[in-house]
């Protein structure tokens, strides 16, 4: 039975909910967003990921209406947002600081937006109760924000921004203030709530793990530009440049020169060493400089040279990072290049096969690595 995959971005018939059209934003001399064009579809969980200062928060604040666009257009549901103030947009935002009103109770905080709409009291009561149940806050309805814990505050902020049933919910580093364990639980809670309410979520984060966990698509940003937009799996497995490969997870980058060979490329990477072989959808001219990007978990480590792998290279273990479930081996190749290889610790520590200064063989298949242009 064919399962329908949620991928409106591959469907040319789908109408995007948000359209950025050649959007540029300048603050004085500084260009925060540069000529950005991007569509976001209904029911998506879209992440803007990047280092601080890459423009991700500016992008979100323009959606909320707190910043004007310098050039270009932002359309939400086909309507140009240029002269629409924040209070007239069917968009709500969850702030990084939560921005809960300290003088109002949890209940009043959630009801705040509904009261501004002038809804009848019974309707407001019902909606707030629904939100309290959704975010498991019923017990805390009468408390003030300073009388509840950080995790509860985060849920109040979420309930308040969802209460008006916005078409689009913006989340600015929503889990930044929570500790790691709580953050992981809350990530799944967010996904659950997003699915239940069918709201489109746009989330800003600098935490790549968070972006990978929750998103339908991730946009990796740098210096006011979107570098790559793809599903978490594609971003991880097929980054389109060294920046993305390096930003998401750990990666080994080997510089080399490509030569076409059959359905792949031979990549010469060091004097007197056998070239690596990799299959790639990207095409390179003869002798073009390129980078091999390979994830540590795709590099196998063994004592003897394996026969069945397309690529094998010898080196010496310099360092071992023991992380409990896995270990990362830092292996130095003969030309001095360091390669990280990960192996699951299926055996107990005392019976581990490799130790410091051992000579080992690293190997990977012809499809394990990604070949990227310089």
């Amino acid at each position: 039975m064919a399962q329908t995959v949620f991928a409106p971005w591959d469907d040319p018939q789908a109408k995007p909910l948000i359209q950025f059209r050649n959007v540029t934003k300048r603050f004085g001399e500084f260009t925060a967003i540069e000529n950005l064009t991007q569509d976001i579809y209904e029911r998506e969980f879209f992440s803007l990921l990047g280092p601080s200062g890459c423009g991700k928060t500016t992008l979100m604040r323009m959606l909320a209406g707190f910043e004007n666009v310098t050039e270009g257009q932002i359309l939400i549901a086909g309507q140009d947002m240029a002269n629409v103030p924040p209070n007239k947009r069917a968009v709500n935002m969850m702030f990084q600081s939560y921005a809960l009103f300290p003088h109002l109770s949890v209940w009043e905080n959630i009801a705040f937006g509904l009261k501004r709409e002038g809804k009848p009291k019974a309707e407001i009561d019902a909606r707030v109760d629904e939100m309290l149940r959704l975010t498991r806050l019923v017990k805390f309805a009468k408390r003030k924000p300073h009388q509840i814990s950080g995790g509860q505050r985060q849920r109040v902020a979420l309930a308040r921004s969802l209460a008006k049933a916005p078409k689009l919910l913006l989340l600015d580093e929503p889990l930044g203030a929570l500790d790691k364990k709580l953050r992981q639980d809350t990530q799944f809670e967010l996904m659950d709530i997003q699915e239940k309410t069918g709201t489109t979520f746009v989330i800003v984060t600098h935490d790549q793990e968070e972006a990978m966990t929750v998103s339908s698509r991730v946009a990796v940003m740098d210096e006011g530009r979107i570098i790559q937009v793809a599903t978490p799996a594609q971003i991880y497995e097929a980054p389109n440049c060294v920046y993305v490969a390096d930003f998401i997870g750990e990666v080994n980058i080997i510089d080399g020169v490509a030569t076409s060979d059959g359905d792949g490329y031979r990549i010469a990477w060091a004097e007197g060493q056998e070239p690596f072989f990799a299959k790639t959808p990207n095409s390179f001219s003869e002798g073009q400089r390129c980078h091999i990007a390979i994830r540590p978990e795709k590099v196998a480590i063994s004592a003897e040279r394996p026969d069945d792998m397309a690529n094998a290279v010898e080196g010496q273990i310099i360092d071992i990072a023991y992380l409990g479930n896995i270990s990362t081996y830092h292996v130095k190749l003969t030309n001095g290049q360091m390669i990280k290889a990960q192996a699951a610790n299926t055996r107990r520590l005392s019976r581990r096969s490799f130790t410091w200064e051992d000579r080992v063989w690293l190997s990977w298949t012809d499809t394990a690595a990604v070949v990227l242009e310089s």
Binding site: P85, M93, F101, R116, K144, Q147
Partner: protein, 272 residues
């Protein structure tokens, strides 16, 4: 436990004596039965009784209260508006000049403020009376309000206002429903500051007061020029008592609130 130190005890005594001895003497002599201020002749509360009979003091006190309430209220409204614009207005042409100008009257000699106001009132032909004192007091106390309120606004999380806008408030509603309730303590203390300043102002009031309206400080000052009477001691004691009660009440309320908040936060942390 810290050891007793003669040095600390002496400095403490000297310091407090320096601060409070004049007031203590004033209070003691307000209960003197003699008409001579500096000669003790036994305990009596007769001067408090006499005070209540003194129409001119009572009139002046009533004028002072009216002036203080009116001027501090107007100054609070104007000062809060000024502070809001200067903190939230973003960058605009001449912002530094404007914020400098708001604070300048703080250091302006009162004599100059009083004189310039007097010249203005004469120039536009405004009869001097209670109205001109209110105007004059508003002018100099709104700067103080503005300083107090803007220091609160600077530390105010701007995203609270943005959240209010985001949830459908007009900018005015956001101010009324979110900003104002949160900065209320600063606005109230600004009002209290303006009120106190107006209560004890002598210099500016004497420039701008007319024959129809005299404030209590002017009345006291002119009475003292004819010789200190025990009635004035009694009046001053009453004013000290009012101020002391006010200050103690305010600090008890503040202390209680902060204790309650601390308790709540600890409780929240435990149940988390």
């Amino acid at each position: 436990m810290r050891r007793f130190s003669w040095f600390n005890a002496t400095s403490l005594t000297l310091g407090f004596a320096f601060l409070y001895l004049p007031m203590i003497i004033l209070i003691i002599y307000s209960f003197n039965s003699s008409r001579l201020v500096t000669v003790w002749a036994g305990f009596s509360t007769q001067w408090y009784g006499a005070l209540l009979q003194n129409e001119s003091f009572l009139d002046a006190a009533w004028v002072t209260v009216q002036v203080a309430v009116a001027s501090s209220t107007i100054a609070t409204v104007l000062g809060t508006m000024g502070a809001y614009v200067l903190v939230r207005g973003g960058r605009f042409m001449g912002r530094t000049v404007f914020s400098g100008m708001i604070y300048a009257p703080l250091v302006m000699p009162e004599v100059i403020t009083g004189l310039s106001l007097l010249l203005l009132f004469i120039g536009i032909g405004l009869d001097r009376g209670i109205f001109t004192i209110v105007l004059a007091h508003t002018t100099f106390s709104m700067c103080f309000v503005s300083v107090v309120v803007s220091s609160r606004l600077v530390s105010f999380d701007k995203s609270l206002e943005e959240a209010a806008l985001d949830l459908g408030c007009t900018p005015f509603d956001a101010f009324r429903l979110v900003t104002l309730p949160i900065i209320a303590p600063a606005v109230i203390s600004g009002w209290l500051l303006a009120f106190t300043l107006s209560l004890d102002d002598l210099v500016i009031a004497s420039f701008t007061a007319g024959p129809s309206a005299t404030t209590l400080p002017i009345r006291i000052f002119s009475a003292v020029r004819l010789g200190v009477s025990p009635e004035i001691n009694a009046l001053s004691t009453i004013m000290i008592a009012i101020v002391t009660i006010g200050v103690i009440t305010a600090s008890i309320i503040t202390k209680r609130n902060s204790l309650a908040q601390q308790r709540d936060e600890q409780a929240a942390a435990r149940t988390a």
